[in-house]
Assembly symmetry: C2
Homo-oligomer: 313 residues x 2
Amino acid sequence: MGRLLEGSEIALAKLITLVENNPAGMTGVMPMIQHRLGKAFCIGLTGPPGAGKSSLASQVIKALRSAGAKVGVIAVDPTSPFTGGALLGDRVRMQDHYLDPGVFIRSMATRGSLGGLARATKDVIKLMDVFGFDYVLVETVGVGQTELDIMQTTDITVVVLVPEGGDGVQAMKAGLMEIGDIFVINKSDRPGADSMAVQLQGVLQMNPRYASAMPPVMLTQGTDGKGVAELVEAVRARQAILGDTDLEERRREKRNLEFEEILKWAVVEEWKGLAGSDEKLKDRLSEVVEGSKDPYTMLREIFPYGCIRPLTD
Amino acid sequence: MGRLLEGSEIALAKLITLVENNPAGMTGVMPMIQHRLGKAFCIGLTGPPGAGKSSLASQVIKALRSAGAKVGVIAVDPTSPFTGGALLGDRVRMQDHYLDPGVFIRSMATRGSLGGLARATKDVIKLMDVFGFDYVLVETVGVGQTELDIMQTTDITVVVLVPEGGDGVQAMKAGLMEIGDIFVINKSDRPGADSMAVQLQGVLQMNPRYASAMPPVMLTQGTDGKGVAELVEAVRARQAILGDTDLEERRREKRNLEFEEILKWAVVEEWKGLAGSDEKLKDRLSEVVEGSKDPYTMLREIFPYGCIRPLTD
């Protein structure tokens, strides 16, 4: 722990592995770093597969680095355990930064992390924060609930789309229109980028979430870095607007949700332990498993006085 | 309930709305239908946005209908509440079937369903099963955890990809390679379909999940129905191979996971109620929300004797 604070990347890597494999609270890590949290500004980068997020992330890192900032990167990939990340060709693009001591890149597997990926990612963000990064960049692939949960963690969210992905309807389907603070149309050299930007602005204007302030819609090219300086500027502007007060308000909401997630994780772990060891519970559960009783009824029968028992005095 | 069993579509629609808005157990619906479940064969259709799943689904419905089967369809869309589904242009393609009394189509919104979308979808599948459909087709957009949870519910899963989406890496990223019983390359008139099929087979061969039997990789065109007869044949073959024994085994596993999900939902609901009403808990929670205490430590402090209290005698 001390070595983490002294800036040992090896200590950081080891702690990340630890919290990936065990909820960080179990390892005693979180209580020790809690009072040091909150210095890093966390940027989420999300969008559909193939939007060029990795290339764009690489350019954003470059821009942040030239301004002297230290950057931690978390790449969240729902790859299967059998690939082990080895087939992630486009991660290679990020290798520009592997030798830079001001950049630390970590890929996270989505399967099998105890207590869920969103939980583990949140803990890793905290570790990177305490390590001393000015920015933590979280890149997620995909558009599902886990990604939304992760984005719920970041201080701002950049949604990356591509011209051809974007007849508007498809993008909306992905639920991405709800979560962006900044929208980027990447691969903007492709046909249709400008008209998509206009269309996207139209869609965003209809969304009550953005009634008070429209999020910027920007054009970028991750391959050659066009538009990236403007994107980083927009991120900084957003950071400045949020200030300490609004940022802290956002983080408060997030901590509340995080606690609920950890409670759910703990409950299921406990349940699995009990259902695996208690013969009477095993018998009850088998009624559900065999389909002879519906799960809602069983829940009421197993927990007639409510499910949880907090200590309230 | 009686009217559901008599085949009243209005009764079905009303019950679906009920379980969407309230967990079905709360409404007393599930205990009443539990012993009638399991007749419908449930097909999941999933894949990235823009893969043409709705058109393909429409063709599959047509093929199932011409064989005399009744089909229930659940379209799960992570659209935002503000669109209200009105902008879902491609749903229109399914309208071919709206006037067919042997087809019932229901769109489900992803946000705001109490207890989660996966939970609500499972209950709706059950309602459609009891209503008397031979097949329930569940179409999901996207590639996240919620979609995986939903696919975990279906008896078989068809993964739909398109040639241009598919450099293999992108598809793997989406976590889709893990869950398919049948893989379809739709829009197969586009360039690269054949080579993608070969590439996909190569990727699937590397996956231990498919060591005993390779899933079929098929080419389709949702627009004109090319390859759809073969796809439906493959679904039926899979259904025959599963038989009653393997199918029931799969369903047992699913019921176990379903119970855990419902437990998590119940716990969070209960927690929110308590944290909103109990002053002492409110105070404790505020330490987490303000960031003065880490959530894992707080969890242990609030639940020193474990979180849940099942009745074991």
